[in-house]
Symmetry: D2
Subunit: 360 residues, 4 copies
């Protein structure tokens, strides 16, 4: 193996975000998977758990010590639950590994806020505020310079990108931003549960954690930082009968006159250099041919690292609505983790990530 | 046929709302379907278009004149498109029939507003403001006394019931009410279209008519009437991959202190006498057994005349969110039409309507 | 309560088949639910588990002794798992109750076959062969005369009705009948499981128990009885991403010349007096208007007690294919149970059952 | 552009199979898209029709003459309808282009069979039998040597690969092979139609073209060739509520003793050198951990060029069942077309095709 190939270990490899990371790494020219951990008895081949990998990856799921993982890897993806992640991350950092933490452990900067919403004291409080929040669109420089990236929550990623230009420009009332977040079932993970039982959600939609969803605090932290002022977010999530994707519907009340074209221009400018953020600025044409959507659809970005952002303005009532769509397992988790890894390791930022959404 | 049985004709009987009305009338002890109209060539049996009726209804789809319809019916359900409906409704009224109009033709009281949003002058402007808006929960007395009911739009029905108590009590900022309306595909009707093509919507969600959806004007008209002041509604609809149901997520900013219990009490009191409005006031119990939802799901009310309403309060940020769930073809169209018919004709209001939602 | 109202108890009331039975009984003019049992701690109101019943049924789920159940009920529906059901059914019979057993305990007549496929000796072997297999279309007389009905398995119900006329008439090779059974997710019950996890099945189809599915033995037992000769059934089931319904695709090799019209006539004649079996005998018309299906769809019978049966003939190759569609929770479980109860108790056979399928 | 990059034109680029081909070509190191044709007025950018391509492909849809297409391309993919395709394919061949025809025009070798099932005489009958049927797993040598590949029908691809080893080895009764083919909605294409209207198929399954589906004749032609004897196929297709994928359930009656292990070994050997055919030979383990499937699922191969094949044996009754799963737009259309192109042009056969299925 040439020294130029980054060796990647994935902790907690039975879940869906780990599976997605594996798939992207299989097509990544500069990385190689060298360890997959899990507490599954008997070290089964990964393909017995993830059948899409049959004939493509011969690794087994192993119950490895952190030391063994650190020996095998240059970069560690932790797909462990919060709490469990912070219990081992310090050891990888001390061994010189780069770490992308998929859990919530290093996202919030304030240990008290963490303790309140995650129900336990933080295992590694001194690193809070030092880890970098893994949004390359906003924090590329910091990501390049760090060894520990806190990968954002999937709703947070969608909402922050959808709102950042308006919030930073202060075109909207910062006190009254309403966000409805519609999530596919894979957002709940691979373990069966009532809310993602097909008979319950397969032909339905319902809200959950209608107030104080944990991602709210990430969104508020990052948008407040952008605005230089507290930005409360009025956020509610929903489960929907699709497998992948988040649509964030972000409503703001305009504090200045603006047309749809103005807002589109603001977004195009803000994301001018971002390869993976696409502003959908099609004309609203009532006579358009079929398949023509002037707004994003989660079905169009599923399976990709792209975020599609669309907007509209209600001139009569002074509202702007921004729609952000991404794949919760892709841009909302695994593919942004690899984008972060690419930044940290000096690889081309889009390595492994140029695939287009699987539509239809 | 005893004189006590109401004879019902349905105009435009090939669509989904007409089909739903047919099904309810088949179990209605005081009504009988006597005519089904359509422009289909050859007067085919209705069961060749609606196969669930095979062996249950032997009527044919006929291209009947209004006069013939009026001869056969005591009550006419018009499932014709807007414009077409107002072109014939006056003739039924003149013949002494009761009419429930499923179209938008008689919902708005202002002909100018109609003309602006429906793209043509109104055919029967002098009846605007005289027809009764068909929400028995708000206008029962007026419905009992009228011959012409304008059945509400499905989003409008959900949003108005979800917001009426808060708006009437003025517990929220009336200027900044945000409503996201998530609709099943049957809301788009029985004609194939790109937005409801399975490959486009079957594993996706997307917004449409993001501002100025026509139902916005009904919601504003009725809530403004309740409040005695203009109430702008910031409304956006979405198509989702379920067949039946609307979930309206209605966000308001509190103008007074209120707990979740206070809001639940307000709603229980407001709908105290309403058999078909159910306030979901379950405790939020994180240790609850499975299938426990403290909020409504559209999967629970599909196939019924019930509206489930749930609420939550974000004390920290001063937001109340109300979730209204109903079946867009049932309570949002056909079953409320029959509830209106029952009121107009002096039949028991719940005749034909006591069925429980088809869950799962 | 008038003596003419049958008191019904439902054992194991947290499941989906029990819920379906509750809903039908709520509209049944001659029956009333008097007990719902479950081992849930604290006797919660049934509506906290089944939210569609909010405001419609005030009973609690109780952990009742068989004696208490027998005191409260004239008819007992056992929705307990196999094994558990046969452990208590004898006590209800001894108390004079009628019993409909939803489990597999009394379906097979041979205790050795039961033991082989259900993995344990039978608790009540002397009653095997005395209970009546609950297919009113074939065994109405016996059902009327018994106190114990074994309600058929959902795949078995569909396959037996689909094949009975051809098998009895011996128009097909009895050794080579192939049946693919496509089931909705509710067939797996209300407990979350990997196979019915939305992310696994929501956009997929896969086989399970590809040979020797337990229902195979019921189908073989009943069709062999009809034929007067052993009829092996080559059966495979699949999970599909719809919530309700079974489509049985039954393939046979013709042993005599027959047209599609001949087979349709055979089926119409066989089911001439059956209100709930509908032979879909529409012409195959390539120019037909939309929504025209010459075959059954499970989406058309969901929520009803109807079975739709369609057929086609491959003249060139000598194959007949019969499609049977029903609702696995309705005709495949709860509504046929009520049809059986009606027969046993001398009530009108269609009481509570005349509802039409919820299409779309 | 280096001479080593193959220039590809796609005819009829508004459809789903064309879109899939575009996506694969975007990641193909040795190919470049140089023309996209369509009759859309105004030469719109392709991304206005296929929004997943926003920011990734700047080509317009053009109404080009065959001559212009031939000037721009080394290889032409025809996604035109049958009939239209054979009307232009000869011109590309005469210009020296390689052609992969997605339509049915060159699949059948007998013009009379074509005329009977496609309803019109063939436009280019002398080339029938000279074009190569595009199954690299069976006809790699011929594909390498030809300029015209007839890309197989999606059902045909699945059924032929699923049955080839058993048919060639003659382990089953060749007269009585039953195939049920369950297709996702994208198999019907991008144009809205009743059968793929979400409200009709989104929560249902139904058969269509139950006998004599056109793909039957391809399957029979190729399997008869393999067997050296006529092999009739008893085939029925179904629409299911997933977007991508075909599951072919292929039932055969064993003519010799064989265990599941024997059949698995036969398939492993037959496809030993095939990178894209994976025999799922997991043990049937009733105690296996979750997500463990001993059979294929279409959800696991969607978005890839892989075929997963699983088998089971009913020893008691002498049946073998083979399950083949692939993505109808991928391996069943666009990705196999690119595999064929790679073969014809001497490129690495897996160029652009190594992506793993998008599961979940």
């Amino acid at each position: 193996m040439p020294s130029s190939v980054t060796r990647v270990a994935i902790l907690g490899a039975t879940g869906y975000t780990a599976l997605e990371a594996i798939k992207i790494l299989l097509r990544h020219p500069g990385a190689r998977i060298t360890a997959l951990t899990s507490r599954q008895a008997g070290s089964p081949p990964v393909a017995t758990i993830h059948p899409s990998l049959v004939g493509r990856l011969d690794l087994c799921l192993e119950d490895l010590s952190p030391e063994e993982v650190a020996r095998r890897a240059d970069c560690v993806f932790s797909c462990l639950p919060h709490g469990a992640s912070a219990a081992v991350v310090p050891r990888f950092l001390e061994s010189g590994c780069k770490v992308v933490d998929f859990s919530a452990d290093y996202r919030l900067t304030d240990p008290a806020v963490f303790a309140q919403w995650y129900g336990e004291p933080h295992h590694d409080p001194e690193r809070l505020g030092k880890a970098v929040y893994g949004l390359p669109e906003l924090f590329r420089k910091e990501i390049v310079a760090t060894s520990l990236v806190a990968n954002p929550g999937c709703f947070a990623y969608t909402a922050i990108l959808s709102l950042a230009p308006l919030v930073k420009a202060r075109w909207i009332d910062l006190e009254r931003i309403v966000v409805d977040g519609m999530s596919g079932s894979s957002g709940a993970g691979a373990d069966p549960s009532p809310a993602t039982h097909h008979s319950e959600v397969g032909n339905a939609i319902f809200p959950y954690n209608a107030v104080d969803h944990r991602h709210t605090y990430e969104i508020e932290q990052e948008l407040s930082g952008l605005a230089g002022a507290p930005v409360p977010i009025h956020f509610t999530p929903y489960y929907c009968p699709f497998t992948r994707g988040i649509l964030a519907a972000c409503h703001g009340f305009l504090t200045r006159a603006a047309s749809r074209a103005d807002v589109l221009a603001l977004y195009r400018e803000f994301y001018r250099d971002e390869a993976f953020v696409r502003v959908i600025d099609l004309e609203k044409d009532p006579n358009a041919s079929w398949q023509y959507l002037p707004y994003p659809s989660v079905g169009v970005v599923a399976g990709s690292n792209y975020v599609h952002i669309g907007v509209d303005i209600d001139q009569r009532r002074g509202r702007v609505v921004v729609f952000g769509a991404l794949d919760n397992l892709g841009k909302g988790a695994a593919s942004s983790a690899i984008q972060n890894m690419n930044c940290m390791l000096g690889l081309p930022e889009d390595s492994g990530l140029r695939g287009v959404g699987l539509h239809p």
